[in-house]
């Protein structure tokens, strides 16, 4: 049980990641796919940030003079700041595609779009 809890966040990451991935691939709705993609990405964020935490550590804001303080690892946090920003950028572009697709096809369901493409070819 202790062993299980020691890796608790890993399991959560795996569940979220798998859920998101399944959602991206299985859903037909283009917006739903993007939401799922976001869930998928946040799972990775959770993975990184989880590894930055150290037992008994404090946030990595350095306190002058204090020597014996254990700080959490700041690096994964920095990396994830980048990843979040990348994520929103991707989402914005993806959503733009969705609106344009809706304007051109009148639907945001993948199977219907495929159907329409077939008609066109």
């Amino acid at each position: 049980m202790v062993e299980l809890l020691a890796k608790y966040n890993y399991w959560i990451v795996i569940i979220l990641l798998t859920t998101g991935l399944y959602g991206v691939m299985a859903r037909q709705n283009l917006i739903k796919k993007i939401i799922a993609l976001n869930v998928f990405q946040t799972a990775v964020l959770l993975f990184y940030v989880s590894m930055s935490k150290i037992e008994g550590g404090t946030a990595p804001v350095l306190i002058k003079g204090a020597k014996q303080i254990i700080y959490d690892n700041p690096l994964p946090q920095v990396l994830m700041l980048t990843a979040i920003v990348v994520g929103i950028s991707t989402t914005a572009v993806a959503l733009t595609f969705v609106t344009l697709i809706y304007r051109e096809y009148g639907t945001i369901e993948e199977d219907q779009i495929l159907e329409l493409n077939k008609h066109n070819d």
């Binding site: 608790y8 959560i12 795996i14 569940i15 990641l17 798998t18 859920t19 991935l21 399944y22 959602g23 691939m25 299985a26 859903r27 917006i31 739903k32 993007i34 939401i35 976001n38 869930v39 946040t42 940030v49 590894m51 930055s52 935490k53 150290i54 037992e55 550590g57 946030a59 990595p60 804001v61 350095l62 306190i63 002058k64 959490d72 700041p74 690096l75 946090q77 920095v78 994830m80 700041l81 920003v85 929103i88 950028s89 991707t90 989402t91 914005a92 572009v93 959503l95 595609f97 609106t99 344009l100 809706y102 304007r103 051109e104 096809y105 009148g106 639907t107 369901e109 008609h119 066109n120």
Partner: protein
């Protein structure tokens, strides 16, 4: 206990997001999910990440999703339930992950490699070398400042992409009408949002609402001041260009939500905003180039002034401002461009 509960809630929300058919509810749940994850970041002492996640995940992306939703359909259609190939892939990925996590080190273990190899150097030297008390800001802006330049560029790229795709006239498809009424669309459950072009951009209906306007007008300087503060504050505590930029951007977005798109444009014209997207990155990149002329490497701030530590502080401040400008401008761009969509369609 809460450390166990929040992730569990996350999982519940994550699954619920996918199960809910109504897209609006789905987005709301996703918003909750983002907030939950921000709380989780706080629990994990990642304050900077938490602020960004709250502003970006729960704030901006929810707004974006909703705008887009108002332009398309809000209901997922009643199609098949389970996709076998997707399930197989997902199970495969989960399998590999499970397999890999068997010999991963325990969480929170202070002796794992990330905590012993590179990061101690940052914690030890960040203040000495960069004058930043917030180690996150020190790494973000200085040690890995180049990554951050890249990241700012990603944001600017997104803005340029949107402009490229949405500005000007796209040809519209003539065959669209032909297919719109055919059997393909019969599966729609409620028929909500089938004629999306009729819904107006959020904001324009509320022109008459004086109270909102007054409050907004009153609040606006404070929000923006707060944004600036967050940008500059990164040196001492959580905060920085991204977070502050998002806040600044949100202030303009709120303004245009309340006062309408046209009014907001008078405050900040599209051209000026485009210019800001570029100028933020240019400030950032320019400071890097400046360092070259002072004999340092690219983005080496400590050569800019005689006192290396002070130079570093100034340099980092400069790039944080650059990031802030770009991020704010991009957030506004995302909003402006998506709102403008059907004006062109």
């Amino acid at each position: 206990m809460i450390d166990v509960a929040i992730p569990l809630f996350l999982v519940v929300c994550g699954i619920a997001v996918l199960l809910v058919k109504d897209l609006m509810s789905s987005i709301m749940i996703f918003s909750v999910y983002s907030l939950l994850i921000a709380i989780e970041w706080v629990r994990l002492n990642a304050i900077d990440v938490a602020i960004t996640e709250a502003a970006v995940g729960a704030g901006i992306s929810t707004v974006l999703f909703m705008i887009i939703l108002s332009r398309t359909k809000s209901v997922e259609e009643c199609k098949k339930s389970i996709s076998i190939p997707a399930l197989l892939v997902a199970v495969g990925v989960a399998g590999v992950l499970l397999y890999g996590s068997v010999d991963l080190p325990n969480l929170r273990d202070p002796n794992i490699a990330p905590s012993t190899h590179v990061s101690p150097y940052y914690l030890e030297n960040a203040y000495k070398q960069t004058g930043q008390e917030n180690a996150v800001a020190a790494i973000l802006a200085s040690y890995r400042g180049y990554d951050t330049l890249g990241e700012t560029t990603v944001v600017a790229t997104a803005a340029f992409c949107l402009i490229l795709l949405l500005r000007g006239r796209r040809h519209t498809n003539k065959d669209l009408k032909k297919y719109e009424d055919t059997s393909i669309n019969k599966c729609t459950v409620k028929g909500v949002g089938i004629k999306p072009t009729k819904t107006s951009p959020p904001g324009s209906e509320q022109d008459k609402d004086i109270i909102k306007k007054t409050v907004t007008k009153f609040l606006m300087p404070f929000i923006q001041l707060f944004g600036l503060y967050v940008i500059v504050h990164g040196e001492l505590g959580p905060g920085g260009g991204f977070q502050g930029g998002v806040v600044l951007g949100v202030s303009i977005i709120v303004y245009s939500l309340v006062f309408g798109f046209k009014e907001a444009q008078q405050r900040m014209s599209v051209k000026a905003k485009d210019l800001l997207v570029s100028s933020g990155v240019l400030i950032y990149g320019g400071i890097g180039v400046l360092a070259l002329f002072f004999g340092g490497n690219y983005l080496q701030y400590n050569v800019l002034l005689p006192d290396p530590k002070f130079a570093s502080i100034i340099g980092i401040l400069g790039i944080e401002i650059g990031v802030g400008i770009t991020v704010a401008a991009v957030m506004i761009t995302l909003f402006y461009e998506t709102v403008r969509i059907d004006a062109n369609g």
